[in-house]
Chain length 165, copies 2
DNA sequence: TATTGTTATACTCTATAACTATA
DNA sequence: TATAGTTATAGAGTATAACAATA
């Protein structure tokens, strides 16, 4: 028990935990922002994943949405968009194909590539599923002030841009 | 191949994909915000998880950070903070205990509860690991305008608040 | 040789259900 | 009985490494 450190009070005793390099300026990004952003994104992604509605997972739905937005894409392009590696995307696309929601097509110009398209049945499924899935988020966004919602609206594309960088 | 739908163009042909209820008002939250937020959070969380530096995963680091910020917490409280279920937190705490970074202590008032504290060695590990792990995020935040950074700084706690709701 | 995608394999994260100990 | 935590088990999600087909 003597090896257990006292918890660090939230007011200012956390000096040992910070790096605080001497060259820090106003242009440096505060550790607090970084930690808060990391924690917020991590926790919200966990919470969002809980909102299953039975048929499609968040990852699968996200791929369908990306194709709907961007048009038909190759496996590699999809992996890049979603920030996963090609084998992971192969797995997701295989699932969606077996569910009849996407089709693999060959690219006549490059036989190595696989082009993934939505099937007709994906359109209806996508609309229904996304609406139900988004219900949780919609409900809780409603509890925020309109200023906070506007803030999140502006921040959302920045999160995506960070993910792509 | 005849069952493959044409991809939906990004300009405005996506009417079939939206629900657009007739009772929608300016106070309603736009589907676009919801989808963008969901996608942005999901992709950035994937990207952040890639930034392993060998010893601790993002989840384990997050728990250490929470205890450092909040002080010693029970398993249940930790699970609540991180938006996971108790068995998941038991698993993470067991790993951290075996790594010598936290200690389980009994609560004299309630023998059912387990209080999780940081060990002395966790303090140094936390500082070093977090600094290295945050490097990726710090680097890429630097590429944003200061207005965008301020925006994310304000948005981060909102993400966490959404996760807790 | 380089690139695209797949297969094989393993690990992390998380959940639900059933159980134990304590209140 | 109710609550806190653990154990057992399963499934989703992801990665790396090795492979096949094509460029």
């Amino acid at each position: 028990m003597s090896s257990v450190a006292a918890a660090i009070p939230p007011d200012g005793g956390d000096v040992e935990l910070r790096s605080d390099p001497p060259d820090r300026t106003d242009h440096e990004i505060h550790d607090d922002l970084i930690a808060a952003l990391r924690v917020g994104v991590l926790r919200l992604s966990r919470r969002l994943r809980l909102e299953r509605d039975g048929d499609l997972t968040l990852t699968q739905l996200s791929v369908l949405g990306t194709i709907a937005r961007e048009g038909a894409l190759t496996i590699g392009e999809l992996a890049n968009h979603e920030r996963v590696k090609p084998p992971s995307m192969t797995r997701t696309v295989t699932f969606l194909e077996e569910a009849g929601l996407v089709a693999r097509c060959t690219n006549d110009n490059d036989g190595r590539q696989v082009i993934v398209k939505l099937t007709d049945s994906a359109l209806g499924v996508l609309a229904d599923t996304r609406r139900r899935r988004d219900d949780w988020l919609r409900e809780h966004l409603r509890d925020l002030s309109s200023a906070d919602r506007a803030l999140l609206e502006a921040a959302a594309p920045l999160l995506d841009r960070l993910a792509q960088s």
